[in-house]
């Protein structure tokens, strides 16, 4: 793969919730193609196993005790939020006016 099309770059950028400027478009067309060409090598590996390794641990799941305990305080959490009003974090409206 030489380079991706602009449409393909815009597609992967949208998946990652990113904008791609016109200035960077050419860079990404080549660079993403280089990485995806490398990744394609995975497909040619001759492998016998069907077993997957998701994480190198043998730990079993554990459940927390069902007890009331101190959690993070709302006031502390709000310290890093960008737009707070009383007890809420403000976001732009997500529904149409009509």
């Amino acid at each position: 793969m030489d380079k991706l099309s602009e449409k393909q770059v815009k597609h992967v950028a949208n998946l990652a919730r990113l904008d791609v400027s016109d200035e960077k478009m050419e860079h990404y067309r080549y660079q993403l193609a280089d990485i995806l060409t490398e990744i394609d090598k995975i497909l040619s590996v001759d492998i016998k196993t069907d077993e997957l390794l998701i994480a190198p641990t043998n730990n079993c799941n554990k459940y927390s005790a069902d007890e009331v305990c101190d959690m993070l305080k709302k006031a502390d959490i709000f310290k890093n939020a960008n737009n707070v009003s009383d007890d809420y974090i403000v976001v732009p409206r997500v529904i149409d006016n009509d």
Binding site: V9, L18, Y28, Q31, I35, L36, I42, K62, I77, N80
Partner: protein
Amino acid sequence: MTDYLSKSVLEINSLLKEKKIKPIDLVNEAFMKIEQNSYNAFITLNKEEAIKEAIELENIEIDNPLFGLPIAIKDNICTKDLKTTCASHMLENFVPIYDATVIKKIKECHMIIIGKTNMDEFAMGSTGETSYFPLAKNPWNSKKVPGGSSSGSAACVSARLCSLALGSDTGGSIRQPSSFCGLVGLKPTYGRVSRYGLIAFASSLDQIGPITNNVMDNALLLKAISGSDVNDLTSSDSEVTHFTRLIGEDVKGMKIAVPNYYMSDVIDLEVRDKVREVMKLLQEKGCIVEMIDIPYLEYAIPLYQTIALGEASSNLARFDGIKFGHITDSYDSIDQLYKKSRSEGFGDEVKRRIMIGSYVLSGDNANIYFKKALKVRHAIKDAMVSVFDKYDLIIGPTNTNVAYDFNVKSDDALKSFYDDLLTIPVNMAGLPGLSLPIGFNKSHLPIGMHIIGNYFKEDVIYKLASFVEKELDLNMDPRGGDLC
């Protein structure tokens, strides 16, 4: 100026116990050195708090070897009330409201955090050059990169601004800069150290580990940060042994494997020659050293690109500009807020990686690429672990080369991955691996040797590392001993 911070942990501990020095002397020395030349190793300094803590420690009994020692922390490990930026514009003003588990443990040992260290943005890079902040420099030659992603942690320990630091390693980010800066750096077994409070890059690969000037210090710091944690279900219940217990023991009879792949002509000749010298030394001292083949190692890079970037795209989806992190100035919709905030907040390397990660996890690609990668990962893990049926350890070079100039191939999207060619397989399998300085090339730049052990056998790694360290007896101080 004093130079206590170039001494070993045990030497400093003796001076503290004999009351020849106080913790405040160590803290003052660290900040004086940092003012003279910081090598851009730090993003945030913790001066006021560190001085306060050092004075408070004067009234507390010394109860462990790390008591009162200054330590530097990679800036992707959360420190309560101390800015944690991940070297990103995205988190430039982020102040955590809790401590990572390793930080709690550091504080329980009464160590003193002197600052948060520079790094590649979100730990994505192998040179330190993707940092949003002025780039950390290699104390051996400031025109050379210190390696990455734990660039500042390596630079500050190498320059003796601090004798201990924590880094994190997803594909080589502790071992690679340790090799470039002439240090001892360990990526512990996956699960040995809690990841709670480590800002995630690739959760199934990330581990926090120690970066130090010598093997003994490394083992002491690993002990302090190890152990299971209810806040990280991938942390292990395995016994936390005294990692120093085998240090100083004879290595005669140890069986050591060297993968042919690790000594191929892709690796710089001077680096290979230096590793061969150590192989010869070990044979002379009664070790059995044999070349072996390990299948699938050649797929480490595409494997990493699929798994690490897939996980990264998911982990970094949380940065939306709303709950924390950079938010754009103007937007018309929530979708625009996400996209503009993320596009302004992340640097190029991060954007490239999360785009690829999103792609390999999207739709049918999850089956085509990601599932196949998990199968290859299983196979590479089996292949590496089976080596330990016959051998105690695997050795080879840590890196393909020594530290190189800034801006080399900065436009090459594959370069940072290829720098980690020899370190990635260890993360894939979850094994422990250490980089040990074994000498210099003709330009007097450090060369690192990789020592890989079986699961939870960090003590065996330290056994061999301490033996080689003692035999070679190198001066790994980049200041050439001028200040010693």
